[in-house]
Structure formats: structure tokens, C-alpha cells
């Protein structure tokens, strides 16, 4: 179980290898990589800058990860979130979950992404091709997605 916030790119294969190293009890490893898209509401996106709340971010990510570990039989998990200025095609976030069972790995990764989106203190600012710079508005659909897990018996 680990969380990290960093401006540097992350290495998917390296992270997964470290998490799996020497283990033969894992049956399923799920990774989610969120990346910067070149399009924002029909406008061409030039760059995206991620601001965060140092200290609180790590605490929230760790809390969300602990919650997932309590709900599912996870053998290991990892959250890496980037900050700073990113361009289309760059990675933003990596979530890795490993379990003996496939359903647990899938559901926990999905859960981590939903909660990360609604509770981790990150804010995205977009630079569009027409020169506009604006803060991304939170999506109601993210709140709805996170709501799926409320009171779910596990």
C-alpha cells in the first residue's frame, strides 16, 4: 500500500514490477492510467496544470487506499498522482491494485479512481488553443460515480 504525488512521469512497468516482486500469491493485477486528452469540450487543449494541497493530498490518498483495503481482499495497491504542467498524451494518475481474485482487483481500482476524483485535493487548470485559461469544473458524474459505493455491503 503506497501513495505518491510527484511532478515526474511514472513508469507503469516499473511500478507494477515493484508491487509484484517475489510474490506468487497474486492472481490479478489491475492498472488504471489517466492521461491528458487533447480535447476539452470541443476545444483543443494545449496544456493542463495540476495544483494540489501538499500534505492533505497524501493524507486523503492514504485514507482512500485504506478504505479500499478494508472493503476488498487486496494484496497490494498503489496510487501515484502527478502535479504541475502536463501536455496531451502525458500521464496524470496511476492506480494499481493486486489481489488473489479478479473481481476484487477490478472493483478496488474503480473505487480508488472514483474516490480519488472526489476527495483528493487536486485542481486542474486548462490552457486552450484560443488562449483561454480556466479552472476545470467538477463533474456531477464524478460525484454520482463515487456515490455508487456508499453503503455497499462487502
Amino acid at each position: 500500500m503506497a501513495v505518491r504525488v510527484q511532478p515526474e512521469p511514472f513508469d507503469l512497468a516499473g511500478e507494477v514490477e515493484m508491487l509484484r516482486a517475489g510474490r506468487t500469491d497474486l492472481g490479478a493485477v489491475v492498472t488504471f492510467t489517466g492521461t491528458v486528452r487533447d480535447n476539452s469540450g470541443g476545444q483543443r487543449l494545449v496544456a493542463m496544470t495540476l495544483e494540489h494541497y501538499p500534505g492533505m493530498t497524501e493524507a486523503e490518498l492514504a485514507r482512500v487506499e485504506a478504505e479500499a483495503a478494508a472493503r476488498w481482499p487486496l494484496a497490494a495497491s498503489l496510487i501515484v498522482h502527478r502535479m504541475g504542467r502536463l501536455v496531451p498524451g502525458d500521464d496524470i494518475v496511476l492506480v494499481v491494485t493486486a489481489s488473489a481474485h479478479r473481481a476484487a482487483a477490478f472493483e478496488a481500482a474503480d473505487f480508488l479512481m472514483d474516490y480519488l476524483k472526489t476527495s483528493a485535493p487536486f485542481w486542474k487548470q486548462e490552457e486552450l488553443a484560443d488562449g483561454t485559461v480556466n479552472w476545470v469544473e467538477a463533474k456531477a458524474s464524478d460525484e454520482d460515480a463515487a456515490g455508487r459505493w456508499l453503503g455497499k455491503p462487502e
Binding site: H52, A59, E60, V93, K117, P121, K124, E137, K139
Partner: protein
């Protein structure tokens, strides 16, 4: 009480600073009251907290609701809904 206030994203931009140490009058006891009081402290706060209903808060790096008591807080943060991930 004296408390560190921190602002993020467009709240930070509108207030014009990321962090400050403020002395809050004793009558101000909740996060919501703190936002209302801040609005009276100058045009930059008035602008920043104009849409107070959409602003989220954290006390000592934990999300809180507007009704949360601020007594004992070392650090109170205000920010728009988060958009990470």
C-alpha cells in the same frame, strides 16, 4: 483565535495569496461563519467568497462541512470542488 488560512485554485487567485495568518473574532465559530466574516474583510475576499455555496473547506487537512466548528483549528483551507484524477 489565530489560524493559518490557505486558499487553492480560483479561491487563491481571487484572494490574491496562497496563505495567511489571521486573527478571527470569537463570535465566528463555524466554517460558514468564517466565510461570511471573511467577505467583510475587503473586496478581494468579497469576490473570492461570492459563490460561497460552491467553496469547500478543510480543517487541519481533513474535509469538513460548512457547519463544522473551527475551535482548535491550526489550519483552515478553502478551495473549489476538487478535479483531480
Amino acid at each position: 483565535m489565530t489560524v493559518t488560512l490557505r486558499y487553492f485554485a480560483w479561491v487563491r487567485e481571487k484572494v490574491g495569496r496562497a496563505e495567511e495568518l489571521l486573527t478571527v473574532p470569537p463570535a465566528v465559530t463555524t466554517v460558514e461563519e468564517l466565510m461570511n466574516w471573511l467577505k467583510t474583510q475587503g473586496p478581494e475576499y468579497e469576490r473570492a467568497f461570492e459563490r460561497a455555496a460552491v467553496i469547500r473547506a478543510a480543517i487541519d487537512q481533513t474535509h469538513v462541512k460548512p457547519g463544522a466548528a473551527i475551535a482548535g483549528a491550526r489550519e483552515i483551507a478553502f478551495f473549489p470542488p476538487v478535479t483531480g484524477g
